[in-house]
């Protein structure tokens, strides 16, 4: 009940006209930043950092929070419309969002992504009010062994994500794991595959590869289509909304993905990208018609969108309750807290309760505002599809380069962008799916490092990987997630076989 009192108090802060203005500005700014390839919430918050000097701590946190989840709303716009995710968390929205656009259902995809984001955000904020502390304490149970198993579970999604040919899916995954080993190995200090290039020592940022594979890949592909005269533009647009039937398909996926996303977000080091990919995989394996996934299933957009927005709320938990940054964005936010003279840590909730609860209350308001802003905004954005490719794709190309530069201000990344763009093109020619590679690049390094940490801590005994109940639970769900789709396939084949003989 104390929480409710604090929350009411927080609303008095959040409802101050200035703070409503800040959350709107932050949210809209975040949406726009999220839409641009390469520019994600971390960049958005970093850009705001100098500005926060001039604000009070409440306003600063509220604005930065708005940018964070605003970026989650915006990230999927470009995924859906031009197959170019704005950041890692929006990759999953390309799987079904873009096929929906190709089928002329961009309006529904944009609408469900805003609706799912809204529900995910509100749900996660409600849960945060109730259980922030217990969740933060539970997350501490995740040691290196558990993290390894969690990343392994995420990677096992490859099995279901590679449409059709599993072997090609694994080829793609292995390529990704290889790329993930580039850079200085933190456990030994040894440089791996850096070829004497300074910029490669901190590894390759997965965002560069996402932009390369998707944005450049899309440009290359369209280039070919234009030449062959296949690419058409959409001329007529419907209302940005969904049908009752579509809503029915999405309710449960959204309600399942929101808590999942929230929890994954609350684990330091996991984050929105993992949350979105895991929830997508989860829905696919639970679905009664998994074959529609990847072909434009609306719940394939709803689930990851709900999850990544919930994850952005969850990610604030370790920062606010323990003073531990759980993601790149919250690390920057923590830097801002310090500059504002607040000491992050368990005492923050008590010492700065108005600031913290003001932030939490503003997340309710911010999500409502964003839902209202995003639906009409999507109505404008969808008209991108009416832009002739000749004009649209040069712009995409330009944005890809700008976005890449914004990641680490490194010209080296341009070369990587082009190299991986070409790699992506040939992968698609060879019908090798790119997503397992992306997923492997995102989790590969963390997975390997977690394994080595665990191995060192246990003095070289593998039993650490099944020595806690949590670890065993993770092993079970991983095994299930690999086996279930295979059993499903076999059943279907058998059923089909029976149908023929009968």
């Amino acid at each position: 009940m104390d929480s409710l009192m604090y929350l009411l108090n927080g609303f008095t802060v959040a409802f101050a006209p200035m703070n409503i203005m800040w959350v709107t500005i932050g949210g809209v700014l975040g949406t726009i930043i999220g839409m641009l390839p390469g520019l994600g919430p971390a960049t958005g918050v970093a850009v705001l950092l100098p500005l926060t000097f001039t604000m009070g701590p409440e306003a600063a946190l509220i604005t930065m929070g708005g940018v964070y989840y605003g970026a989650m709303y915006g990230g999927s716009r470009a995924s859906i419309l031009i197959n170019t995710p704005g950041d890692g968390a929006a990759v999953a929205a390309t799987f079904d969002g873009y096929p929906m656009t190709l089928k002329g259902k961009a309006e529904a995809a944009l609408a469900i992504s805003a609706i799912a984001s809204f529900i995910g955000g509100i749900f996660a904020t409600l849960v945060m009010v109730a259980v922030a502390m217990p969740v933060a304490r539970f997350a501490l149970k995740f040691g290196p062994a558990e993290y390894f198993l969690l990343f392994l579970f995420a990677l096992s999604a490859t099995a279901s994500m590679s449409k059709g040919d599993r072997i090609k899916g694994f080829i793609s995954m292995v390529l990704g794991l290889m790329v993930a080993t580039i850079g200085i190995d933190a456990q030994s200090g040894v440089k791996r595959f850096t070829f004497g290039i300074l910029e490669l020592q901190s590894g390759i940022d997965f965002l560069v590869i996402i932009i390369a594979i998707y944005a450049l890949g899309e440009v290359f592909k369209s280039f070919q289509n234009i030449a062959e005269g296949k690419k058409k533009v959409q001329k007529e647009f419907g209302r940005i909304w969904i049908s009752k039937e579509e809503w029915k398909r999405c309710v449960w996926p959204i309600l399942r993905s929101s808590p999942l996303g929230f929890f994954i977000g609350a684990l330091p080091g996991a984050g929105g990208t993992m949350a979105a990919l895991m929830s997508y995989n989860n829905e696919k394996s639970l679905s009664r018609h998994p074959e529609e996934f990847g072909e434009g299933a609306i719940e394939g957009v709803a689930a990851p969108e709900a999850a990544n927005n919930a994850a952005s709320v969850g990610a604030m938990i370790p920062m606010l309750t323990l003073g531990i940054p759980g993601s790149g964005t919250t690390a920057v936010m923590m830097g801002a807290l310090l500059m504002l003279g607040l000491q992050p840590g368990p005492m923050l909730f008590q010492q700065q309760s108005t600031v913290i609860w003001g932030l939490i209350a503003s997340m309710f308001i911010g999500n409502i505002i964003l839902a209202f802003v995003n639906i009409p905004m999507a109505g404008l954005l969808v008209r991108v599809l009416a832009v002739p490719p000749k004009i649209l794709y040069p712009i995409v190309l330009g944005l890809a380069f700008v976005g890449t530069y914004a990641i680490s201000y490194s010209v080296m990344d341009f070369y990587l962008l082009i190299i991986f763009g070409v790699v992506g093109y040939f992968l698609s020619k060879a019908k090798i799916p790119a997503t397992p590679m992306i997923l492997a690049i995102i989790v590969g390094n963390n997975m390997e490092q977690s394994f080595r940490r665990a191995y060192k801590i246990s003095d070289g005994s593998l039993s650490i990987f099944w020595s806690s109940p949590l670890a065993i639970a993770l092993i079970i769900i991983t095994v299930l997630s690999v086996i279930l789709p295979i059993i499903g396939d076999m059943r279907k084949k058998r059923a089909a076989g029976k149908g023929q003989t009968a």
């Binding site: 950092l49 290196p144 933190a186 456990q187 200090g189 901190s202 531990i324 920057v332 830097g335 801002a336």
Partner: protein
């Protein structure tokens, strides 16, 4: 053919001369008024880290005190533990506008073989502040003092798992080894050090590692709340107030060593003398202002001011100390 080549060579030889002449002309102009126009403050890391925080705070304090009146926009040039920016500074020889921040990794990245550049390839202006290393354990850990840990390591070098957030051979690792060496632990090479990313504090709280070697300001909140117990810090004296002031130094525990995570400001290589003098003087003044003191207090930074000549001497000394330890654990590369 030969003639063109000759001409080309002559041009090549002459061009730096011409450039210097032009540069000198520029110098005499600026001598009258420095700084002029925008300065270029650079954090060699991404936003939100220690370097970023330091340079932004410094820029703000310089502005608030009115010591510097020209704009001081801060930009980030991250990569390879600051080495990317260090390399790009080499293209700015003699520039008077770029001010950047570094800390012990400036020495360590070279020793680890990441780069061939180090403090000799920049112009030290002043050492400003210090944060100290602290060794923390879980609140219910059996280790009650730093000597408990060292004794346990002496009995069985594998018995205590040390965690940190920098990679092996880097700061969090070395600051512990310096203490272990001074405490008389043998075979430093066999001590298990586990490198984590941001979440190291969560790992020690969850009991996955035994001891977390980190910076005092990183875990201040968790020490204050009692979630973590600080066994010792590495300053030559007690620091801070409240629970922080209760943390004993390693010296008090009979380990005669200190570790200072200093942060200082640097200019590009061969920074002109007028600029160096300006910054030495300005930073010397800044250090005594109430604004700077307030900023230090907020961030939990100790005053560690050293003027450029002393700073340079200090860097050589720190370099030697790191070399010894890295050599001992077989990680010295350069």
């Amino acid at each position: 053919m030969k003639k063109t080549l000759l001409l080309f060579t002559a041009l090549l030889i002459l061009s730096p001369l011409a450039l210097t002449a032009m540069g000198q002309q520029g110098d005499s102009d600026q001598n009258v008024q420095y700084p002029k126009g925008n300065l270029d403050f650079v954090a060699p890391s991404g936003a939100g880290g220690g370097w970023d925080l330091t340079i932004r705070t410094t820029a703000k304090a310089l502005k608030d005190t009115g010591l510097v009146k020209v704009p001081m926009p801060v930009r980030n040039n991250p990569g390879a533990g600051g080495s990317v920016h260090l390399a790009s500074l080499q293209e700015k020889k003699g520039d008077d506008k770029t001010i950047t921040v570094y800390s012990p990794p400036l020495i360590l990245t070279k020793l680890a073989g990441t780069t061939d550049l180090d403090y000799n390839n920049v112009t030290p202006l002043a050492r400003l502040i210090a944060d100290y290393a602290v060794f923390v354990v879980k609140a219910d850990s059996p280790y009650k003092s730093i000597n408990d840990v060292m004794n346990s390591l002496k009995n069985d070098v594998k018995s205590v798992k040390i965690g940190g957030t920098s990679s092996a051979g880097s700061m969090d690792h070395l600051q512990f080894l310096i203490m272990a060496k001074a405490a008389g632990v043998k075979n430093l090479r066999d001590i298990d050090y586990v490198s984590f990313d941001d979440s190291g504090a969560a790992q020690v709280m969850g009991g996955h590692i035994d001891l977390f070697s980190t910076g005092l300001s990183e875990v201040l909140g968790l020490i204050q709340s009692g979630d973590l117990r600080a066994l010792a810090q590495t300053a030559p004296h007690r620091v801070g107030e409240g629970v922080v002031a209760d943390i004993p130094t390693c010296m008090e525990a009979g380990i005669s060593a200190t570790f200072v995570n200093w942060r200082g400001l640097f200019g590009p290589p061969e920074m002109p003398e007028y600029a160096v003098n300006y910054w030495r003087e300005t930073l010397g003044k800044l250090r005594l202002t109430p604004e700077w003191e307030a900023a230090r207090k907020t961030n939990g930074w100790d005053d560690a001011y050293l003027d450029a000549p002393d700073f340079k001497e200090f860097l050589v000394q720190a370099d030697n100390e790191f070399r010894d330890i890295l050599n001992e654990i077989g990680m010295l590369q350069n």
